[in-house]
């Protein structure tokens, strides 16, 4: 508690030096927040849809139907960007990466709705030529127009994080910034540094290595929360079909099989529910608590409306 207070106080001085927000960036931020579902109306309780089942494809369909259907998510001509977690050379069974069947279900649905393009940028930890095939992601994009890639230095754009307390600048994958529809699609797993790796932590694959390293030096949890005030997903889809309980994030670790996919437009609410699968509360995962304090979303499980769907 004490450390957080210090961290919050220290960067306040830096705000003076902060340059003014560029208009373009502001517009981009606004456009992300196209709520895909009437279920998540503003100022009412945040909704988390939890789909239980065994076939990821059917689970996605059932979850999206509950959210309000594909048509509201994928508009014709839209630029869709998906950010799965494909950081490690880990097979779908080992649970280190987002399940490829979930990824493919979204890609096929987006193509069917005639979106302009589908990009999947991921700053992997292991080299992408290892992680993309091993994770099953290469198979997931097979035969589609989706572009799966690890961004080069020129494919990042430096942005300001206006509400950031420590992280005030970050280099972010351009395609994620420019998307009309941004889907944050992590896998839920244990993490040595961040306690749990869920949707907000997943943005660490959206930024470049220098930003990533700086976050570890300067205060990981605060930086994760800072960045989540900036990059707002249209939809959060957390893969909890199997979850890694230890030795994360790389694994292989001990697995549990909740057989769930979690959907929400509130990343904090989605992460809070996902943390409960690990028997953890926002008090155990500082970035979830801090994100709530910064107004990103709701971390009070009692206030979150969990709607369960069977598929």
């Amino acid at each position: 508690m004490n450390t957080t207070a210090q961290k919050a106080a220290a960067p306040a001085a830096r705000i003076k030096r902060r340059t003014f927000l560029k208009a373009g960036t502001a517009a981009a931020v606004g456009s992300f927040y196209a709520a895909p579902s009437s279920a998540s109306a503003e100022s009412t309780a945040p909704v988390v849809i939890v789909v239980h089942g065994t076939d990821p494809k059917k689970m996605v369909e059932a979850g999206i139907a509950k959210m309000g259907g594909w048509a509201k998510l994928f508009k014709p001509g839209a630029k869709v960007a998906i950010k799965p977690n494909l950081a490690w050379k880990s097979t779908p069974e080992q649970g280190g990466n987002t399940h490829p069947d979930i990824l493919r279900a979204f890609i096929l649905a987006a193509e069917a709705r005639k979106v302009k393009k589908i990009t999947i940028p991921e700053n992997t930890c292991h080299p992408e030529k290892e992680t993309f095939p091993t994770s099953g992601a290469l198979d997931a994009i097979k035969g589609t127009s989706a572009k799966l890639y690890r961004p080069k230095a020129s494919e990042y754009k430096e942005v300001e994080v206006p509400k950031g307390k420590i992280c005030q600048k970050a280099k972010v994958s351009r395609d994620l910034l420019e998307a009309d529809c941004l889907i944050n699609m992590p896998v839920a797993k244990h993490h040595g540094g961040a306690t749990l790796s869920l949707s907000m932590k997943n943005w660490m694959g959206a930024i470049d290595n220098n930003t990533r390293r700086a976050w570890h030096r300067q205060g990981l949890h605060q930086c994760i929360a800072d960045f989540s005030t900036f990059l707002k997903p249209t939809l959060v889809v957390i893969d909890a079909t199997r979850i890694m309980l230890d030795h994360g994030p790389q694994g292989p670790g001990k697995l549990a099989h909740p057989h769930e996919i979690i959907l929400s437009t509130d990343p904090v609410a989605a992460d809070t529910y996902a943390a409960s699968l690990f028997k953890k509360t926002p008090a155990d995962v500082p970035h979830i608590r801090i994100a709530d304090e910064m107004g990103v979303g709701c971390s009070d499980l009692a206030k979150i409306k969990v709607e369960r769907v069977e598929a």
Partner: protein, 407 residues
């Protein structure tokens, strides 16, 4: 045209050798790129003899060049060898220099004997004078990312060409130990058949005056080989420990690497992440240009370290300086040990949530100890393999975790 017809084999071998030396082989068969170097008996057979190890059937590739000279003399040198071909062409640039060769003593047989005798003694000297290795080293040096140090294995090739322009033919006729070895074998064969053929000398043979008398050769050979073997034993005692001073690639023969390594550049070229670089002095003057691991990533956009399932470098060493490893063997083998400097560590010193070393460690060799709210890393020495994943990913500035050689 006539020249072309005469040299068609040499041209074909040259092209094939360049392709192999540049490493243009199917990606899942890196061992093919070592083919050229394995044809040299000096590298493959003498190397294995010195290493006191049998590391696979590819050793047999060295045998043809031991048998051919028994029947055909130095046919390989004059009609096949790519290094000899280029040296000869370089010599043609300076026809006036031809006479210089007569001022240089015949070193080649003595050099061959030194390599053979010291290899038999277990610590080979001058193995890096092998011409196929020198040829290979030049082309293997052209790899990315391009650094000045990376060029080190190309020095011998340039030296041979320069020397050939100044004094044409000097390399093949006076220095080359592979040529010397074949000449010795040729003389041996001639001596064995001498009795039968003494009455009728063949017209193709060298004139009797130029051919050294076999008895003189064997006496001189012993006078070279015995002191050389003794020197090899002493060198092994004196310089052997230098091998351990630097961080070596997996499978390295730590006692003998400085002597066994021919500086052919195969391991450096084949490493997918360019971690293997020529040593520039860490392991002593005798270890110059031997392979060392630079685990710290030189590419800020990608963590690079000695990957768990990669054994490519161990499959391309012609001399056994790096022994072939299976993936399973590699998992059990430590190439170094990671050390944490707690004063630099963001978890220990600054109480930050980090654990990136634990995150990247493929062997789960980082134990996290709770200090207050924060998990702090400790290296589990029984599990650490020294792969450098932690070092390449460590976000601290300066880096807090580094891999040290096993002493």
């Amino acid at each position: 045209m006539k020249w072309l017809r005469r040299n068609v084999w040499r041209l074909l071998t040259l092209v094939a050798s360049v392709i192999l030396a540049l490493g243009f082989v199917p990606e899942n068969h890196p061992e093919l790129s070592a083919l050229l170097t394995r044809f040299s008996p000096i590298l493959s057979l003498f190397g294995a003899a010195a290493a006191r190890a049998w590391f696979g059937g590819t050793l047999l590739l060295g045998i043809p060049l031991l048998i051919l000279p028994l029947f055909k003399g130095r046919l390989f040198c004059w009609r096949i060898c790519p290094m000899g071909f280029l040296a000869e062409l370089a010599g043609k640039l300076n026809p006036k220099g031809k006479g210089l060769i007569h001022h240089v003593p015949m070193l080649n047989k003595a050099l061959a004997l030194i390599v053979a005798a010291t290899a038999a003694a277990g610590y080979p000297l001058l193995i890096w004078l092998d011409p196929l290795c020198i040829f290979n080293g030049f082309f293997a040096a052209w790899r990315t990312p391009f650094t000045v140090a990376a060029l080190a294995t190309g020095i011998g090739f340039v030296a041979i060409l320069v020397m050939s322009v100044i004094a044409p033919n000097i390399w093949c006729h006076r220095i080359c130990p592979l040529g010397g070895l074949q000449e010795l074998l040729m003389l041996l064969a001639r001596r064995l058949t001498e009795g039968r053929k003494a009455e009728k000398p063949k017209s193709g043979d060298l004139p009797p005056a130029a051919a050294p008398r076999p008895a003189a050769v064997s006496r001189r050979a012993l006078l070279t080989a015995i002191p050389a073997a003794a020197a090899g034993v002493v060198a092994g005692k004196v310089f052997g420990p230098n091998g351990r001073k630097a961080l070596r690639p997996p499978g390295a023969d730590l006692e003998k690497i400085n002597a066994l390594c021919a500086r052919c550049g195969n391991c450096m070229r084949v490493c997918p992440y360019q971690l293997i670089q020529p040593d520039l002095g860490d392991s002593g003057i005798d270890g110059l240009f031997t392979p060392v691991m630079w685990l710290r990533s030189r590419n800020p956009d990608q963590e690079q370290y000695c990957f768990q399932d990669c054994v490519k470098c161990t499959q391309v060493c012609p001399t056994g300086a790096l022994r072939p490893l299976t993936v399973k063997q590699k998992h059990d083998l430590a190439i170094g040990i990671a050390e944490i400097d707690r004063k630099k560590c963001v978890a220990w010193e600054n109480k930050e949530y980090c654990a990136v070393c634990d995150e990247y460690c493929p062997y789960k060799a980082i134990k996290l100890e709770k200090r207050g709210d924060v998990m702090c890393p400790v290296v589990d020495l029984s599990k650490c393999r020294g792969c450098g994943a932690c070092e390449s990913a460590c976000p601290a500035d300066p880096i807090a975790i580094t891999v040290k050689p096993i002493s």
